[in-house]
Symmetry: C2
Subunit: 247 residues, 2 copies
């Protein structure tokens, strides 16, 4: 079982869209896949057609995680998010032992678990990073996004160097790419200079079908499989599987 | 002195872009304006050409806020953000008395103070909401953004009903609007149905000049005053001033 966090403290960079569409694309290759929504906003739960209850918070009340899992409108299973997660954040903050999420998921039998995290380095996100085998970093090719990347990469390296986790950065995914736009090109070139081995080759284009899909409670790869956005996430899934063969 | 928070726990909706450009547009009308960067990412500080030090955290160490204020590359003054703010968040969480920010700013002599908040309802954001006379809510006309708005409006109403603050919601600002896109139209129509009296008439269009400006350490209204994006923020400043006359 591989546990992968989708993380970036910069807001609105496509974390949820990547988590939902990647989970669906991987599930469609007959790999047993679970999506964990760790964001109190519960956006990933919405895109999965799931009710925002039975979140991971219930595990602090003694429930077993298998009782919390819902089937989704897509081909993966889902552990929903929602406002209860704020209580989980407080519980994790006061709990000295780390990796609560990994302990909760340990007995499950999935090939892949993707964790969608909120836009902050809160105790929820830190526990997800500690609990993961790897991290994917979605990034919009804009100036503010570039600023935050070094501090995220450092945070993950510190957690790994302190022996809390074996989390490796699996890669950086360029999202909402608009090829016509010079700013995107400049930032993308900058990324290729600073993080050449981390950048995924697959670029996710800006495509309105990806933004429409959640209002139907579906992943884009399920709502409009022929759209540019959906095809890009299918290609990304293939690239991720190839990268993991060499890890 | 009017203290206004720019807030929305949904990430990437244009909080920083709105805080920076509105502060600059208001300052250009000869009103003494301060921008407070309350985000550990420090994006508003970058757009203001300020060093990410001397944040509000220093007030918990006994420094007076007047010692922390920097001049910006724009026409407003700035209280910078940065990673120290994480320590301020911990201090505020453990401090039972609320409204630390209001107390720190009380002796200053500005016409307007704008506070850029991070994408979460953390103790930093809550203290900003408690310390403010009003809140502006930037919102992208997309499905996930619509989901979070009710919980933010409820949070502010609860703070006000509990007597902690007189914060009123001054309005909702539609950002990154792409008129050609049906999703934007549908969501915008929904907003007009549910929050007719809160919606600003001024729409902020998607305009790459606004996204380029921070890489020059400037507000868009300073970098390219003739651009569509800059003109929209100047119009928004006018609409805000008119709305405040009636408050
Ligand atoms: N490739 C894309 N093309 C078009 N729209 C997109 C794309 N990726 C994401 N979006 C839209 O952009 C917005 C931000 O994306 P999303 O919510 O996935 O980001 P996030 O990083 O999860 O945000 P948050 O920081 O709030 O968790 C959403 O409205 C989403 O529908
Ligand atoms: N009207 C606009 N046109 C084009 N780009 C924009 C516009 N408004 C914001 N942007 C860009 O979109 C991205 C998100 O905007 P911004 O960082 O201001 O949002 P935010 O809500 O402050 O994000 P966070 O939740 O991370 O604090 C930035 O790269 C910004 O430059
Ligand atoms: Mg998200
Ligand atoms: Mg911001």
């Amino acid at each position: 079982m591989k546990i992968i966090s989708i993380s970036n403290q910069k807001g609105g960079v496509g974390k949820t869209t990547t988590a939902v569409n990647l989970a669906q694309a991987i599930a469609a290759t007959n790999r047993k896949t679970l999506l964990v929504d760790l964001d109190p906003q519960g956006n990933a739960s919405t895109a999965s057609g799931a009710k925002k209850n039975n979140s991971l918070f219930e595990t602090t009340l003694g429930k077993h995680v298998s009782e919390l899992i819902q089937t989704s409108s897509n081909q993966y299973d889902v552990l929903a998010g929602g406002e209860d997660l704020v209580a989980l954040e407080v519980a994790l903050r006061n709990n000295p032992t780390k990796g609560h999420i990994a302990k909760s998921l340990k007995e499950l039998d999935y090939d892949f678990v993707f964790i969608d995290t909120p836009p902050s380095l809160s105790s929820l996100t830190l526990d997800a990073l500690i609990s993961s085998d790897g991290t994917l970093i979605p990034l919009q090719c804009e100036y503010y996004s570039l600023e935050g990347i070094t501090s995220l990469v450092n945070t993950i390296n510190e957690l790994t160097n302190s022996g809390l986790t074996n989390n490796k950065i699996f890669g950086i995914i360029r999202t909402m790419v608009d090829k016509r736009n010079n700013l995107t090109k400049d930032v993308s070139d900058d990324l290729e200079k600073h993080f050449p081995e981390l950048l995924f080759n697959t670029l996710i284009p800006r495509n309105v079908k990806l933004a429409e899909a959640p209002s139907f409670g579906l992943a884009g790869t399920n709502y409009m499989p022929e759209s540019f956005g959906a095809k890009a996430y299918l290609a990304l899934a293939g690239e991720l599987l190839r990268r993991l063969e060499n890890v």
